[in-house]
Symmetry: C2
Subunit: 212 residues, 2 copies
């Protein structure tokens, strides 16, 4: 038996969390497991860090190029964080969604609000909380390349970011990474079965009823 | 590390499908696997079939007892199907939901609408479609205890029931039972993480932010 192919809209899944609570690790684990899910690659003006690949981790661009993308409406959201510009290019996201694929983005709460405004129908958001403050501090300190000042600035930003949990569709406490990955995967699997995303269901049911 | 206990509202999960498309089998498989999930046991005036246990498959009641439950508002929904009365008792459902547990019900579309009206906040609905009409007919015919007339009546009711897929939150095509069980489990797991069900999250976040 062949599974009926039912056309559906893709999902723009936004994972936000205070820095260090796990959104990037969870996103990458999901993309590695789920063939229908692509990572949204942001453009940024910040310098490339050791180990980062242009076009994979970010599209690294000069400031004037970034400004021109903003001016041309080529970004679905953009923000300045610690004096660096970040943005989500519109073209690749819309291509995936229109094709019935799903895309994951780990922008912060302000980015999430801009994405929701620009892609309201396909937007699903998950906020990831740390299980405790010591756990969050440990994770931020283990990023050896960041200075003490950067860690302190990130802790302050984390506390602020956490206050925005209540504008998200789903909330997860990241106690155990494997469990959290499964929970976000369940959210994605469930959202794929939402009636209003399944564009082909009406035709499928009509065909069934004609034959009954 | 102990997982933070975050108080939440329970979910009233309604699975509907045309007769023979698999709702009862899927419901029982879920309840067997998921300790947080209980089956809603309906009251009915229909005669007990061989193998059915009173209080497990149904609460079998006389017609006057059923009518008195309706009059007293003790049923969250009720209906007459093939001259027999069926209903969902309010008490056991509300007890599970108030305690943060989840309950599954396999009522038809009319029952689903009554449950939604009575328990709007906790209500989540899934419609299960058969993959094809021959598959549906095979499953109905394999119920050896039903007569040919009953099978034909059920096929007619199935076609009617299918026209109501578009009032449900989620739609699943039951091609493979194990896959369908996983899909409904994902819906349940996802809905448990919905922000507005997690009553304790606000306190949890406030405690985190105080310590940050």
């Amino acid at each position: 038996m062949v599974e009926p192919k039912i056309k559906r809209r893709g999902i723009l899944l936004v994972l936000s969390s205070p820095s260090g609570a796990g959104k990037t690790t969870i996103s990458r684990a999901l993309v590695a497991k789920d063939k229908k899910l692509k990572m949204s690659v942001s453009v940024t003006t910040r310098p490339r860090r050791p180990g980062e690949v242009n076009g994979k981790h970010y599209h690294f661009v000069a400031r004037d190029e970034f400004d021109s993308m903003v001016a041309e409406g080529e970004l679905l959201e953009h923000a300045v964080v610690f004096n660096n510009c970040y943005g989500t290019p519109r073209g690749p996201v819309m291509k995936v969604l229109d094709g019935g694929g799903d895309i994951i983005s780990d922008v912060d709460w302000q980015g999430a609000q801009q994405l929701k405004a620009n892609v309201p129908q396909d937007f699903v958001s998950v906020f990831i909380l740390p299980p405790s403050i010591p756990a969050l501090k440990r994770r931020l300190q283990s990023r050896a390349q960041d200075s003490r000042e950067v860690v302190l600035a990130r802790m302050a930003k984390s506390a602020e970011e956490m206050s925005h949990w209540d504008s998200y569709d789903y909330v997860i406490v990241n106690q155990d990474l494997a469990v959290s990955v499964k929970q976000v995967q369940a959210i994605l699997d469930a959202e794929r079965k939402r009636r209003d995303r399944q564009l082909g269901i009406a035709d499928f049911v009509n065909a069934l009823r004609t034959k009954a």
